[in-house]
């Protein structure tokens, strides 16, 4: 055994104190769900972690009623500085319980512990700290000098960053004075339920945060409920489109964070070793389950071969395996369904004539796994160049001139993210100006900060989360009457 086969360094799950089953978190208490309970499984072992309640329409209604009551009786009447205290308290509790949350997230989602420990959970805390500071400064949010909360927010989050997406939704909503009903994804409800415990620990007034679990029908009942004022959804473009259709013509505000097919553009004067790292963090971070992933690599044709050689030798050093091992770089795919989808689209790439290369790594026998994969000889018309794969699959295209890079990067129905790698700052700024994407990274990729707004163009959705913009999405001008329906 060589040094590089680092001895196993697994995080222990003994710190977790999970219950055998979890109810719905409504009005500050865990209550039974009316639908049939379902199991949440660990995608790396296919073992059941715990049982989760399923909310039906009546449960959804109870949750909305609890949120409405908390909004009108408590939360909207509380001074911003007091709301801020609760948010700071939640942020500190997240930091205190960060190790436990990181382990639970890795277990439930399949992503490596080094990501949950170093990225997800620190960002979750940062999000609450950031918006806690806003709670008593809402008049500076840019919506007039007497901003008002919207009321009850219905929030549906995906499985790729379960707790982080919860933080993106709940922190600004609460800071602005709204109450929330949130539904985590069916395959990753665990950390949202631990967050419910944190709300209890923080003595957050009952009903301000409600967490309901279930599948698509539960989500549909929530976003279709007549007594909500705002829908915030992160997930697939198809579901987002349905939500927009249903809410058209109503008073309910909507923000949608949907899919993406981000272009990562490598110019021939890039700092090449760092660009290789950027390509990897762009598409192989979180197994590529990232809406803003740099899934299309646009590399200048004259350095294509060199970049591919460097990329392949670097990818060969990535370690795929047990998400709880501290040295794992690539974890498990979140579900069988997702693995099937990735496999199907990857096969279409080969069928359409692209060349497939996968990193030589042994896949564990149990669980859902897909090796880091790179397609070369990809043409703009190929499905792997157009469809969002949401997996560890990179499609490589080439360009000759900066104009061609921009044209190819923008040639997508999506517009969420893009990356530019060049040592020439003037080119960097000129290209960034022409890209139709909500987030553009220069000489880095997949970096997030609560102060920075995040969101997309075109089929990637609308509205912004993060920063002042993310706060404004939960506020209306004081000239309008807030909260009532």
């Amino acid at each position: 055994m060589g040094f590089l086969d680092y001895a196993p360094a697994p995080e222990s799950t003994s710190i977790l104190n999970l219950k055998k089953s979890y109810g719905l978190f409504i009005g500050g208490e865990f209550v039974e769900g009316s639908g049939p309970a379902f199991a949440t499984v660990s995608p790396s072992s296919e073992e059941t972690i715990t049982m989760i309640a399923q909310a039906n329409d009546a449960d959804v209604d109870k949750a909305v009623v609890a949120a409405r009551g908390a909004f009108s009786k408590t939360w909207s009447k509380m001074p911003g500085s007091e709301r801020g205290k609760y948010l700071f308290r939640i942020a500190r509790l997240i930091q205190e319980r960060s190790r436990e949350l990181a382990i639970a997230e890795s277990l439930d989602n399949g992503k490596p512990i080094r990501e949950t420990r170093d990225v997800d959970i620190p960002l979750v805390a940062a999000w609450f700290f950031y918006y806690a500071g806003w709670a008593d400064k809402l008049e500076y949010a840019g919506v007039g000098n007497n901003p008002q909360a919207l009321g009850v927010a219905a929030q549906v989050v995906p499985w790729n960053f379960p707790l982080l997406m919860l933080a993106w939704k709940i922190a600004p909503a609460l800071a602005a004075g709204n109450t929330v009903v949130l539904k985590p994804a069916e395959t990753t409800p665990l950390t949202a339920l631990l967050f419910a415990e944190i709300c209890q620990q923080a003595e957050l007034p009952a009903g301000v945060v409600n967490i309901i679990t279930g599948a698509g029908a539960t989500g549909a009942a929530l976003v279709g409920h007549p007594d909500i004022n705002k829908v915030a959804f992160t997930g697939s473009t198809a579901v987002g489109r349905g939500i927009a259709r249903n809410l058209a013509g109503t008073n309910t505000r909507v923000t949608l964070e949907l899919g993406g097919k981000g272009a990562n553009i490598i110019f021939d004067d890039a700092a090449i070793d760092q660009a290789i790292e950027g390509i990897i963090s762009g598409i192989f971070f979180n197994q590529g389950h990232v809406c803003c992933a740099g899934s299309r690599l646009l590399v200048q044709e004259n350095i294509h071969d060199d970049v591919m050689n460097r990329l392949q030798s670097r990818l060969s050093t990535l370690r795929l395996g047990d998400p709880l091992d501290k040295n794992t770089d690539i974890g498990a795919v979140n579900s069988k369904a997702q693995l099937d989808r990735i496999t199907e689209i990857a096969n279409s790439g080969e069928a359409e004539g692209a060349t497939r290369w996968s990193a030589p790594c042994e896949l564990p026998a149990k669980g859902f796994w897909f090796p880091p994969t790179v397609f070369t000889n990809v043409q703009t018309s190929h499905r792997i160049a157009r469809d969002e794969i949401f997996g560890p699959v990179l499609s490589v295209l080439t360009f000759r001139t900066p104009d061609e890079a921009v044209a190819k990067a923008n040639n997508t129905p999506y517009g969420l993210s893009a990356g530019i790698w060049t040592e020439k700052a003037s080119r960097m700024l000129a290209i960034a100006d022409k890209l139709r994407a909500g987030v553009i990274w220069a000489n880095t990729f997949n970096k997030f900060d609560p102060a920075s707004p995040f969101g997309g163009y075109k089929e990637s959705g609308y509205g912004r989360e993060g920063g002042r913009h993310g706060l404004a999405a939960y506020l209306e001008s004081g000239n309008l009457k807030g909260g009532a329906k």
């Binding site: 055994m1 060589g2 040094f3 590089l4 086969d5 680092y6 001895a7 196993p8 360094a9 080094r114 170093d118 004067d269 890039a270 700092a271 090449i272 070793d273 760092q274 790292e277 950027g278 050093t317 501290k326 040295n327 040592e423 000489n443 880095t444």
Partner: protein, 336 residues
Amino acid sequence: MSTYTPAVRPTTRSQTVLGGTITEKALKRFLEGIPGVDAVGAQARADGFASRSIKTTSKAWGLDTIISMVDLTTLEGADTPGKVKTLAQKATMPDPMDPSAPSVAAVCVYGDMVAHVRESLGSWHISQRSDGVAIAAVATAFPSGRASLPVKILDTEFAVSEGADEIDMVIDRGAFLSGSWGLVYDQIMAVKEACARPDGSYAHLKVILETGELATLDNVRKASWLAILAGADFIKTSTGKVQPAATLPVTITMLEVIRDWYGLTGEKIGMKPAGGIRASKDALRYLVGVAETVGEDWLTPDLFRFGASSLLNDVVLQRQKMATGHYSGPDYVSVD
């Protein structure tokens, strides 16, 4: 003595990369064409290595490997024969309580101390046994390098004649920073020639870039290429006399040049970070960086060294802890 003008003579290596005629202009054009280094990205990569978790068997192997890679160093104005002899003894037996601890790679001293080290090592010298200890001497007006070339050459020749197996030279940072890359290149070549022994063999040449004075990673990368083209067997970060000395991002940047050189020619150049690496934990991070940048082939004293003094005791203490399950203390290792 006339003023030295760079001749920029060809080496086999520079001819491989630059073609037939080697001119200062060609050298300059080549170095200016090398891709840049993004310092933020390099730091992020280093942080990634630092977050690897090296436990149990990997850690045990790593600690022994680190000991075998140490150039145990004393470079003080106050060095005496007695001091270097003590150090040479320690080099052969880093843990007096555990003879199974490996010996270090080399003892590194000033040229005038070489004979004393040689005497003290006796049969432990690398020429006598495969796990023996080599003698490294700093030369070329170490640490500043501010002397005329003839002085630098004499300094080197003297150390080699005294029995130094390895020469740690410094580059002329002033020349490098003023853009006289041909001069830096030529001086390295001249020192390399001064490493020749009468029997035709050469003392191993480590070229110290003094990265703390080069300041940017772009400069570090250029200087690494320059040193390799001119004939370095090893490239080394620092003298230990300038802060910052070795850092992980600097070492990785140099290793990337070594990796690219290997890809280009199949030839393996050695790497030596020196100065500032005091804890076992830090040294293990360097091993991770080496393994994941150039590959495990480099995890041998022939291709990787640590220039250090206090690091050795910390590694020995960690090694004792792994063996016994508890920490001892500074009185359970020898002071030098």
